[in-house]
């Protein structure tokens, strides 16, 4: 922890600090502001009430993702409230001069999927969005975080917000991931070990051999779920993998600007002698396919483990533990392998990218979704969907019996028609398993990797994908 160099977090914070406010917080410039239809309408309303304009309209970009139906884009939507929300966003973007990647543009998708694929997300930026999974963009070496609607208003009006700096915890994952173990398992494992509250007040800097060799899709999966571990910010230092991904993307610097940007981005990475507030280290070889069994993302076990008993849990967590078992209709000490599933969902800002779909399609090819299982694959963006179709992944999925949908948040959070019914149990690649998350108060969610969801789909039960697919 010794050293007087700066972490990436400190460098980016210093570069964007405007001044200190009366309560000691920093007025922080937000370089890139992303908005969507759920957390922006009230912010625009507040702007209108205050008689304010958007100060730098070119620094804000909009998409629609949470409420869009994934079966058809035909308007008016069956849900009049959802129609009202997309209409409000269209009106606001026209009024204030904001670019909106609307459903007909071919560039629509989940906000944390389209930012990177458009090259809007870049190293060294501060990025904010009214959505806690904004941490995803940290995969590019940005300081990216979720905000509330009042901060959306603040950024629209001033391009700044009030914030206190975070501490930085360095998380090393060294060694080698075993076959059948993916980025999703890495972050579920980290949250299990450090706790859902462990990262509160911290930014997580992920590094070590596993991250050095991980592609951008995997880095995004890990950074995405930082907030589930309490860390508002999660990032990976930018490197050649980052630059290769961004080169040629529509909003990335071009020509001479590109070379200058890469030089600048290299210096954004944490100094070798950076000082961290805390360091944790993990051995990748110990990580196995991980499945959540409970009602928060930290309640997770390896596929070959059994659910913890009350005795295994600290006294103050026992009541919550018992409550979780009851909601999920599980028993302490039972296996998670073999649990029957009703619904399988591949998608979301956590695992809805082309890399996720390719790997799921690779293992599922030639297999069939089990009888009685409803299985959905929802690409994270129109661009991901088109790329998948070009590679024939959609046909692999539909021939297997999956439904192939259009881009949106879908089942992750029940603000669109994709919901659980009753106490259905869903194997999902999304990021939250809270009670009622998927639209039914008694519904149950198990979080896992895309390949693990694929295994559950073809067997009809939670399974070890390594055995099912011979990995």
């Amino acid at each position: 922890m010794a050293g007087n160099g700066r972490t990436l977090f400190q460098k980016v914070w210093d570069a964007h600090s405007v001044r200190t406010l009366s309560n000691g917080q920093t007025q922080l410039f937000i370089g890139l502001h992303l908005i969507h239809e759920v957390t922006s309408p009230q912010a625009f309303g507040m702007l209108r009430d205050l008689g304010l304009k958007v100060v730098y309209p070119k620094r804000t970009f909009a998409t629609v993702d949470h409420i869009v139906p994934t079966d058809t884009r035909k308007e008016p939507f069956a849900d009049a409230l959802a129609q009202g929300m997309i209409d409000a966003l269209r009106k606001a973007c026209r009024e204030f001069g904001i670019t909106f990647f609307d459903t007909h543009t071919g560039q629509q998708g989940i906000v944390h999927v389209i930012g990177p694929e458009l090259g809007l997300t870049q190293p060294g930026m501060t990025i904010a969005c009214g959505d806690s999974h904004t941490a995803t963009h940290g995969a590019f070496g940005a300081v990216a975080f979720g905000i509330g609607t009042s901060q959306v208003r603040d950024i629209l009006a001033t391009q700044t917000m009030a914030l206190s700096p975070l501490k930085v915890r360095r998380i090393n994952v060294d060694g080698r991931l075993s076959l059948g173990v993916y980025a999703k398992d890495v972050i579920l494992h980290i949250i299990r070990r450090l706790g859902v509250n462990g990262g509160t007040g911290y930014a997580y800097e992920y590094g070590g051999r596993v991250f050095d060799t991980m592609g951008m899709d995997g880095r995004m999966t890990v950074c995405n779920m930082s907030i589930e571990g309490g860390a508002r910010v999660g990032y990976v230092n930018p490197d050649a993998t980052t630059f290769t991904y961004l080169k040629g993307k529509p909003y990335a610097p071009q020509g001479k600007d590109w070379d200058a940007a890469v030089e600048r981005w290299k210096h954004t990475a944490s100094d070798a002698n950076a000082r961290y507030d805390d360091v944790k280290s993990f051995d990748a070889g110990e990580i196995k396919p991980t499945v959540t069994w409970g009602v928060n993302p930290g309640q997770a076990i390896f596929i070959d483990e059994t659910l913890p008993s009350p005795e295994d849990v600290p006294a103050e967590q026992q009541e919550g533990h018992a409550d979780a078992l009851q909601h999920m209709q599980f028993k302490a000490g039972q296996a998670i392998e073999g649990v029957k599933v009703d619904v399988c969902f591949i998608g979301s800002c956590t695992n809805g990218r082309i890399g996720d779909l390719r790997e799921a399609a690779r293992v599922v090819k030639g297999r069939k979704v089990a009888n009685g299982v409803k299985a959905l694959v929802v690409p994270g963006s129109d661009a991901v969907g088109k790329a998948a179709e070009k590679e024939g992944l959609d046909r692999i999925f539909t021939e297997a019996g999956f439904q192939w949908r259009q881009a949106g948040c879908s089942m992750c959070l029940a603000m669109n028609p994709d919901k659980l019914v009753g106490d259905q149990l869903c194997a999902a690649t999304s990021n939250r398993n809270f009670k009622g998350r998927m639209g039914s108060p008694t519904g149950r969610t198990l979080l896992m990797s895309p390949v693990m969801v694929a295994a559950a789909a073809v067997t009809g039960q939670v399974s070890d994908a390594r055995k099912v697919f011979g990995l």
Binding site: L21, G84, G130, G146
Partner: protein, 197 residues
Amino acid sequence: MSLDKITQVSGRAVHVPGDDIDTDQIIPARFMRCVTFDGLGEFLFHDARFGPNKESKNHPLDRPEHKGATIVISGDNFGCGSSREHAPQALHKFGIRAVIAGNFAEIFFGNATTLGIPCVSVAKEDREKLVATIQANPNVELTVDIVAQRVRYGDNEVPCSIREAARKALTEGQWDPIGQLIEGRDAVAKLAAALPY
């Protein structure tokens, strides 16, 4: 924009037990398909309070002895999950003016402070004392004193803590920073012009 200085919140309290109470519990997403924050109070903790046929589950918030309570007492990691401001908005519209918990999720804490809702941390043993007191007598008035960082009830008090920046913002009437942020416009323009992107 002139805001009240918030130095303390006094009122009756209600215990919402449990750790890791997440924002989906506080306000289920299906009630967020709205373009204003109006009417959100009705849906506070909806699925914990009401069954599938809207029947009451006799949640503490609905018990007659807690009607009009303005302070919630809860566990650790209160407000974890989403950045949705709808969560503290629902609390505020329901009538809640302060939250006492073991500790708070970060984004929720920031959102609540911006609405002028003090979120104070109280140690477990002390929270147990508060809960026992209000269970014995729901009419007891609590005072969450942000200046002295104490929760007073009757002749008793327990310590509480709140992050210094939030404490200053609340007590100095700067808990919604929009005014100050606008005042910084020249410095903002200078930084924006110098930013390499």
